[in-house]
Symmetry: C2
Subunit: 349 residues, 2 copies
Amino acid sequence: MPEITRGADRPPGTRYGNRPTMKDVAARAGVGLKTVSRVVNGEPGVTPDTERRVQEAIDALGFRRNDSARVLRKGRTASIGLVLEDLADPFYGPLSRAVEEVARAHGALLINGSSAEDPEREQELALALCARRVDGLVVIPAGSDHRYLEPEIRAGVATVFVDRPAGRIDADVVLSDNYGGARDGVAHLIAHGHRRIGFIGDMPRIHTAAERLRGYQAAMADADIPVAEHWMSLGATSPERVRREAEAMLCDRDPVTAVFTGNNRVTVTVIRVLAEHSRQVALVGFDDIELADLLQPGVTVVAQDAAALGRTAAERLFRQLDGTLVTPERIELPTRLITRGSGELSPAG
Amino acid sequence: MPEITRGADRPPGTRYGNRPTMKDVAARAGVGLKTVSRVVNGEPGVTPDTERRVQEAIDALGFRRNDSARVLRKGRTASIGLVLEDLADPFYGPLSRAVEEVARAHGALLINGSSAEDPEREQELALALCARRVDGLVVIPAGSDHRYLEPEIRAGVATVFVDRPAGRIDADVVLSDNYGGARDGVAHLIAHGHRRIGFIGDMPRIHTAAERLRGYQAAMADADIPVAEHWMSLGATSPERVRREAEAMLCDRDPVTAVFTGNNRVTVTVIRVLAEHSRQVALVGFDDIELADLLQPGVTVVAQDAAALGRTAAERLFRQLDGTLVTPERIELPTRLITRGSGELSPAG
DNA sequence: CTGAAAGCGCTTACAG
DNA sequence: CTGAAAGCGCTTACAG
C-alpha cells in the first residue's frame, strides 16, 4: 500500500500546489501550453504524434484539468444551485433528484443548500451561490421578499422559483395547484357527508399553507357550510403543536368528523392522533406519504408530483440560459386525489 | 417593475461580462485594487474615510466578489462533494442533510451527485468534483475499486467513504454495524420461535447486502439451524423481483414463517406481499421506515442512524483538512433493534 | 499544425 | 495607510 500524503504534510495554503498544471505537462511534452489545451479539450489541429506525446505527459504526471480556472476564463461555471427547505424532507428528495438529472443532462453540477425555512439563511445561501457564479438558481423560497436577487438576475443568473412563488420580483415560478388540490380534497370529504371539517396546516406566511387554506374555505363556501374559527389552525408543523390542535378539534364540545391536513408532516402526526382516538374520523392529507396504502384505513391524499416540479423548474432554468426563454411565467402543475379509504369514511353518529 | 435583462440580450459567452469587478470599484472609488480587496475582505489598515468611499462604490455598482476567482488564487474552494446513490431515497436525505450541516459549520458548500448505483457514474462524478477542486469528497460507493481516487487523495483531496467501504484503497470509512445488526435481528426472530427464516436482500456486490447476509447466516448457525439455499435471495431491489422471491418463499412446499429484509426498499415491498397473504408471517427489516409503528402489526426493524453516518463522515473529512487526522480508520456505528410487533409474531402452526 | 502574449478576477508578497 | 506588479491555471485572439 503506497504511503498516502495527507494535507498535514504539506505547506499550508498550498493544497494543490503540488498538482501538475498544463504548464508542467507542456514542459514535459516539449510543446506549447496551447497545444496541451488543445489535447485536453479534444480540439482539432494536433498531429497524432504530438497528441500522443502530450497524452503521455498527462498520464505520467497524473494531470487533471482545473475546472475552476477554466470557469474563470469561460464565464459559465456549468453548475447550478438549489436552495430548498430541508434535504431530509421526503418531499424534497425526489424534487432535488429531478433537478440533478436535468442538470446532468446539461453537463452541470448541482450545489444544494437547506434554508431550514429561515428567510435570512435562504438569502445568505442564494447569494453565496451567486458569488460562486452558479449559472442558475432554483429556489424554494423561505422568505417573501426576493428583491435581493434582482442585481444577480440582471447580471445573468437564471432563476426559477419552485413550490412557492417569488416575493416582490417578477420571475419564473413553478407551483402545484395548491388551491385547487385542497379544494378538491375538502369537497371530497363534503361529498361523503361531512360538514364539520377541520383544517391543520403550516405557518400562514408560507404560500402553500395559505393557498391550501383558501382551497378549504372555497370548498366549504361552495357547499354553504359555515366554518367555525377553531376548525382552522395554521402554525408550526411540530408534532407537539399539531397533536394539540388535532386533539382540541376532536374533543371539542362540537367535534369535527373529518380533518384535512395541509402537508405530509401534519398528516403523519394526525394519523398518530387518530389511531389513538376511539371514534373514526375521516382524513384527507395534502402530499402523498409512503405506505399510505398499507395503513388501516389507507390514507386518502391530494398528491403533488415533486419530481415533476423539480424537472419543470430545471428545464425552464436551462431554457433561460439558452436564451429560448424571455418572459417570466407562472406554471401550475395539477394535483391528484388518491382515494384509499380514510377520506371515504362517513361521519360517525 | 424594472425591465429584467435576460441572457438572450447579451453577447454570447459574456454572461458575467457586465458584472462589475474590483477593478471597476477601484476606479469609481479612486483607489487601488488592493484597497478594494481589503474592504471587501474586512482586512485592517484602511482609513474610515477610504472605506466609506469604497463601500459606496460597491453599493452603487452592485459589486459581488467572484469567489471562483478568489478560489483560484487561495487554493481551497470551501466546497465539498457528496456522491451518493440516489437523493430521492429516504435513507440518503437525512444523511445528505447532516453532511450539509457540518459543511456549513465549516463555511463550505455541498455539491451533490447521484451515482444511481452505477460504478462508472460514481467515478465520473467523483472525478468531475475533483476537477472542480472540491476540498473533500464524501463517497457512498457504488463501485468496488476506488484506486482511481489515489492521485486525487495524494494531491490533497480529503476523502471519506460512508455506508460501504472503499475498494482497494486505504481510506477513512464510516459504516453501520451491518453484520451485527442483521445477526441481532435474525436472532430476535429465532428467539420468538422461528426456524424457517427467509432473507431477501440487495445485490451481492453491494457490501451492506453481503454483510447483512453474513449476519443472517451467523445467527442461524449460532442456533444450529441449517439454512436452505432457497431461503436466501440477493438481487435487485425492484418490487417485481422482491415480490416474486417473497411469494416463492411463502408458498413453497416448505414455507418460511419469518422473513428478514435487507433494506428499506425490500421491506416496503415485502410488507405489501404479506398484507395480501393469508397466514401471518413474522418480519424484521433492516432500516427504519416512516409510519412503521402505525402499520398492523407495527414493523420491527434494525435501524441505522443515517444522520449520524453523514455527520461522522463529514466531521472526519474536515479533520483531515485541518491536518488533525492522519491515519485512515474504519468506524462502525451501532444499529438499534426497534420492536413493534411484526418481529414478535410466533410461527404459525 | 503550433505557440507566445494577454487576460479572466481575484490574492500574495512586497515596496513605498 | 496604500498600491503596482506578479501570479493562480486556464482560454481567447492572434500571428506564424
